[in-house]
Symmetry: C2
């Protein structure tokens, strides 16, 4: 499986460069700042951040390629007896300026664990892509889910339903009893213990991760010119608070990053730029804001 | 110890009303909104919140009086075999508008655990008060710590040093390797297993909790008229991000509230009203902003 590691690692590096270029082209105002960082325990990453753009208030496209020793806690979580690991991944988080454009998050990663003789003991893919709107535009959401289903179906007819429900379960603010957003797909340990199917799974992982622009840009273009009021911007900033709550309280990626001494500024680059917490803000009955809450309280089968 | 429970419970209710009145009087613009809430498992609380004030951007003064069953996890944390509990407490969190006034947090609580025959098995006080400035004003900080030391010394000559160092340890953003603020005092399990000293400890707990206005208002008055720039306000909003990080990642009170199905809006009322996360913001060399960071990286012995 050595070529999977090399193949997927170079794939995410190419993808990062390509996505950054396209995002800059659309934004027309801000440019990505690049930062190479090293992880004390082994490896490092490239953090690319665009701030105060025209369309994108904050966009982060990060890769990390890390290796070293798992802590006891992580070994337990991954139910492995071995502690040498290699992990590489790309993550994209975009917080748009206009509250009618949803926030998007995606992450695609590959993981290897080595036995005491430095042979691969286990390997798997993880990933996902999900949408967090501030206002509900049903056509956009159906387009998003349909696109994902079509990609999934090419590889395994069971993928979409399984990964969609895992996404709803994962991106859930338990303490609020509401979903973070309108979902998408989410999977982990894909291919673990299954050596035959690797080529197919790698193709799936590469195709789905390469689809980011094709799935997000139509949604950006549909909404980027919509007029919004100050109170709609205010609502977006309040809802971004829920995004922060999820990332800091529940997100395993954030906790993994902290526990492996990842670079904090690269982990927290996912946090929205401007956020509000008002006490007990309750939207008006039958408002567009209330419509969002209703949908987040009861996850929808979009297709 | 029945009279301690009743005595301290009525003390916090009085204190809440008194503190709200004084805060409104100084603010001169906004009033507290009052909300009574019930906890499904037993008890409830009174949440008092003032927003968009003249001097106070958000001020919350909450009491809660809850009882019921501890979860397994909480029993482990409190190392008790019994699960019936009673807890009452007052917490105050004030986020001022002017970045030259520090944020203040305080919490004073009393806890009882009952054996299978509903007799008190254990009881203790917990509490603390700490300051989170955005700019360093050494005189204010020294006044704050001196005041606390004098109050502590009246009851036990060892209290201040012990509680000061516990405060530095507790209010620490491990993932940033920096303190949340400039400390104060923090203690828990005070009086646990020590039945002789109860009267003295209750007097301490009542006196220190009653000191809130006397310790904070002079600091407010010293700084409330200072002129501040937009970029100083920006700095305050960035630093408030660290406050959110502490409360959501590390704070035991937040986690206790979530785990006991506390009312989320009453728990999260401690979060600042307007917050920013910029990527890797680094203050200028030798600036006032850098001075704050230097102090938070190396906790100071203020007196």
């Amino acid at each position: 499986m050595v070529d999977i590691k090399e193949n997927f690692t170079s794939h995410i590096i190419d993808l990062q460069a390509k996505n950054c270029k396209s995002i800059e082209k659309i934004d027309k105002k801000s440019k990505f700042k690049k930062e190479n960082w090293k992880r004390p325990g082994g490896g490092g990453g490239i953090t690319m951040v665009l701030e105060n753009g025209n369309i994108f208030e904050k966009a982060a496209i990060n890769t990390s390629i890390v290796h070293g020793k798992l802590t006891k806690l992580l070994k337990q979580k991954m139910s492995t007896e071995f502690s040498n690991f290699y992990a590489c991944g790309i993550s994209i988080i975009i917080h748009p300026t206009n509250p009618f454009i949803p926030t998007i998050h995606s992450n695609f990663r590959y993981f290897e664990i080595y036995d005491n003789k430095k042979r691969i003991n286990e390997a798997w893919f993880g990933g996902g892509i999900d949408l967090t709107p501030y206002y509900i535009n049903k056509n956009d959401i159906i387009f998003f889910h349909t696109f994902l289903k079509q990609k999934c179906d090419k590889y395994d007819i069971n993928f979409y339903n399984k990964f969609k429900s895992q996404c709803d379960q994962y991106f859930y603010n338990h303490h609020r009893k509401e979903a973070r957003g309108v979902g998408g797909i989410f999977y982990d340990y894909l291919g673990k213990g299954d050596k035959k199917n690797w080529k197919n799974l790698m193709n799936f992982q590469k195709e789905i991760s390469s689809s980011f622009l094709k799935i997000y840009l139509p949604i950006v273009n549909n909404n980027k010119s919509l007029f919004y009021t100050e109170s709609q911007k205010y609502w977006q900033e309040l809802r971004r608070g829920r995004y922060v709550e999820f990332n800091l309280i529940h997100d395993k990626g954030t906790h993994f990053g902290i526990q492996t001494n990842g670079r904090i500024e690269s982990i927290f680059v996912s946090l929205p730029p401007k956020v509000r917490w008002d006490y007990n803000f309750i939207p008006e009955q039958n408002s567009k804001e209330q419509e969002l809450i209703n949908i987040l309280k009861n996850p929808v089968k979009w297709i």
